[in-house]
């Protein structure tokens, strides 16, 4: 696998690195991996909530990226393209594990009658005045308490920026189910964040 000895990889923009990597330069590709590996791993971790699976899928995403690099046209940023690859791999993995089916009493309740209707609206914003890092930690903790089906829809919409229609197509559910899951996930997040605030106070 060739490399361009004269290229200054660390100070080169993603576009240049992608161009070199498309010509077979593995050192340029390694720099891209180094630059974006935490983000790709974090996205996989958010979806799977399992370190080993996230690590494996993030590496698989880089392998797929190398193989499909010639398809990258630069319509979106390289990071966005990469997160799409890892998200697709995570969704495939979830499908394989059949985790998208009703997996807990909580989800069964939601699909049966809509628990979200019974949850009181949080009138006070529990995240006001929190340090950025503290808020990140609390959001991560709360995300871990959602069911996989709700977390998936939330991640795809809030972090991946997908529209309802796109989520429905990717996950294989109706737009109505996307809306219902997203609504419940947000309401549950509000409730969990409020609960975490109370826990910290006591």
């Amino acid at each position: 696998m060739p490399s361009s000895l004269n290229n200054d990889y660390p100070s080169s923009p993603d576009e240049a690195l992608v161009g070199w990597a498309q010509k077979g330069d593995t050192e340029a590709f390694e720099e891209l991996v180094h630059r974006h590996r935490d983000k790709i791993y974090a996205r996989a971790m958010m979806m799977m909530r399992n370190e080993d699976e996230a690590l494996d899928l993030s590496q698989e995403a880089w392998v797929k990226a190398w193989q499909r690099l010639h398809q990258f046209q630069g319509d979106s940023s390289f990071a966005t393209w990469m997160t799409r690859i890892v998200i697709n791999l995570c969704l495939d993995q979830i499908r394989r594990q059949k985790k998208m089916r009703a997996e807990s009493i909580e989800q069964i309740e939601e699909e049966a009658g809509g628990v979200e209707r019974q949850m009181p609206v949080e009138h006070v914003n529990p995240i006001e005045g929190l340090e950025k890092e503290e808020l990140r930690k609390r959001i991560d903790e709360a995300m871990g308490k959602l069911t996989e089906a709700h977390r998936t829809v939330l991640v795809l919409h809030e972090f991946q920026g997908m529209e309802y229609k796109e989520i429905a197509r990717k996950v294989g559910i109706s737009i109505g189910t996307v809306m219902s899951r997203l609504f419940y996930a947000r309401r549950r997040m509000a409730s969990l964040l409020q609960g975490l605030k109370r826990e910290r106070k006591t």
Binding site: T26, A42, A54, Q59, V63, I127, R136, I139
Partner: protein, 144 residues
């Protein structure tokens, strides 16, 4: 709380105008204090998530993480490689037919050499002489 209007409210907040009746939702927001509180809740949750995505660091060194990826790339390339030289039956036949032809002609000339002006079979005119040496323990068959 009205479930249908709640979902429509969320759709409108997310910019999915086609999924929510704006006028009906706005009237609902004005008439119900809980509806306005729900709008605020949905808004701050969404904003908090978008601006504070949890971060995670790969729990491996740069070199080790990359070496694993590189190994997987090479393994997949090696798996894909043997598929390429596989020839189709027609490719093999295109070589096999002329080779078989040449072999058949060669055999014909070896077993039954062509002699100009003679159309008789050599086998009909064949004669054999046998020489045996008792002292040497050897027997030689001579075929014309």
């Amino acid at each position: 709380m009205d479930e249908k209007k709640s979902l429509e409210l969320m759709a409108l907040l997310d910019g999915a105008e086609e999924l929510g009746r704006r006028e009906a939702v706005e009237a609902w927001l004005k008439s119900e204090p809980d509806a306005a509180a729900l709008r605020d809740e949905l808004t701050w949750v969404s904003q908090a998530l978008r601006s504070h995505e949890p971060v995670a660091k790969v729990p491996e060194t740069r070199e080790f993480y990359w070496s694993q990826i590189q190994r997987r790339i090479q393994a997949e390339a090696a798996q894909a490689a043997p598929a390429k030289p596989t020839r189709r039956l027609s490719d093999w036949l295109s070589w096999l037919v002329p080779i078989a032809g040449v072999a058949a002609v060669t055999m014909l000339f070896t077993v039954h050499p062509w002699q100009p002006g003679s159309r008789t079979s050599g086998l009909n005119e064949a004669s054999a002489t046998t020489y045996t040496s008792e002292t040497d323990g050897v027997t030689i068959h001579w075929i014309d």
